[in-house]
């Protein structure tokens, strides 16, 4: 029941995200809004399939995780969104902190591979490392700026929260199998939903003039 509630919540949040960013795209015709629509749209489709499966059959998919197609696509769109928002100087900037993404990501990838499918974990962790790499670099760059450029730090923080909550969710999934309110997975999934909510205003704030 708790898992179903959580999935419905995630579905609702991402659907609202699709509607808002799509309406913004229809109004302003900005690439950022299109990418946000794609990000939320893909995530919402994945969540819809997962929620319907759980709601109708009281279980989760056993062989192919069809929803992962949608979720992986959404992460790819988030990567492109990050790239579209990055400044030239930001891309060339040298900082050691960005390598933290690999230092955290690679051990976690090895951990996940011992529990599950190698290919899926490689894709997911690769995407998460890419997202966190760009976010750390972008955050450090934005904090050294002023005015409009500094506002982008909120977007990078939101993406970092998204990555961190995904890592926490997967790590808790390795050690705790329950899906009840008492399980950490439930709370990390809620954290993921919260970070999904945060990405939209943060991205809007970053590009508002």
């Amino acid at each position: 029941m708790a898992e179903l509630f959580e999935n419905f919540l995630q579905l609702a949040v991402t659907t609202i995200g699709v509607i808002i960013s799509f309406l913004k795209y229809g109004k302003d015709h900005k690439r950022i809004d299109l990418l946000l629509t794609c990000f939320y749209g893909c995530f919402a489709l994945g969540a819809l399939y997962w929620t319907l499966y759980l709601f109708l059959y009281s279980t989760t998919p056993q062989v192919f995780y069809v929803s992962e197609f949608g979720w992986i696509s959404s992460a790819i769109f988030l990567c492109i969104l990050q790239d579209a928002m990055a400044y030239q100087e930001e891309r060339k900037m040298k900082c050691r902190a960005k390598w933290l993404s690999l230092m955290i990501g690679i051990p976690l990838l090895l951990l996940y591979c011992t529990y599950g499918d190698v290919l899926s974990n490689l894709i997911w962790c690769g995407l998460m490392m890419m997202l966190s790499y760009c976010s750390i670099r972008g955050l450090i760059y934005a904090r050294g700026q002023s005015g409009e450029r500094r506002r982008r730090q909120f977007f990078h923080i939101a993406v970092l929260c998204f990555v961190a909550s995904e890592y926490c969710l997967w790590t808790s999934g390795c050690f705790f199998s329950g899906k009840s309110v008492m399980s950490p997975s439930f709370w990390f999934d809620l954290l993921l939903t919260a970070s999904l909510i945060g990405i939209l205003p943060a991205a809007r704030k970053a590009v508002s003039t």
Partner: protein
């Protein structure tokens, strides 16, 4: 047992003859028809193989394996066309639709030869449901690819995103149909409503946006 390859040959022969008669300019249309039907044949083999490989029952094969396999295989001829011929956006949309329609037609013929065509109302619902679902997925792919292919930064991600969207849409349809009862009629209505909604959104909201972007 359905001899699907025999059905394929039977469908292919008149189209092949017609394609040769009609001349080179219209041959492309027939080639996409063959590609769509061939994709359906290939995905049927692949579905069976994967179902055996994963020891999946018919429900799992329908709801989890078939959508992924069918959408991926349906994309392959389109990708070949895009990469080799680099067509104009309007042609991409038409190609995607022809592949999808011929895929759906071949699938329906195989279904009829396996299950018979006595139940008119069910066949009618299935025809509009499954047929329209493939067309919606094809239209989604075609429209999306024709847009994404003009923008280098969106090509790879666009393909992944569209494949993800089409697969999930297809899987949701299969999931609802497999549940049976009133829910399956929701599934049958879903593609037609999606098509209408997509048309409205495209005309009302996105026409200006796309025109502005094309001008830029």
């Amino acid at each position: 047992m359905t001899y699907i390859e025999n059905v394929f040959l039977c469908m292919l022969a008149p189209l092949l003859v017609a394609g040769i008669c009609i001349g080179r300019r219209q041959l492309k249309t027939f080639v996409f028809c063959f590609a769509g039907m061939g994709a359906c044949l290939f995905s049927a083999y692949l579905n069976t193989f994967l179902a055996i490989w994963y020891q999946a029952n018919s429900f799992t094969a329908t709801v989890e394996i078939a959508p992924v396999v069918e959408e991926v295989v349906k994309l392959l001829p389109l990708l070949f066309y895009l990469l080799v011929f680099e067509p104009k956006p309007a042609r991409i949309r038409i190609a995607a639709l022809i592949v999808a329609v011929s895929f759906a037609t071949f699938e329906n013929i195989c279904y009829l030869s396996q299950n018979g065509a006595e139940a008119f109302s069910f066949i009618l619902f299935r025809g509009f449901g499954t047929g329209a679902m493939h067309v919606v997925c094809g239209a989604m792919m075609g429209a999306g690819l024709s847009y994404a292919w003009q923008k280098p930064w969106l090509k790879a991600a666009g393909i992944c995103g569209l494949l993800g969207a089409a697969t999930t849409f297809h899987a949701i349809y299969n999931l609802l149909v497999a549940y049976g009862g009133a829910v399956q009629y929701v599934a049958y209505a879903m593609p037609v409503f999606t098509m209408i909604a997509g048309r409205v959104i495209l005309t009302v909201f996105l026409r200006t946006a796309l025109t502005t972007e094309a001008a830029n």
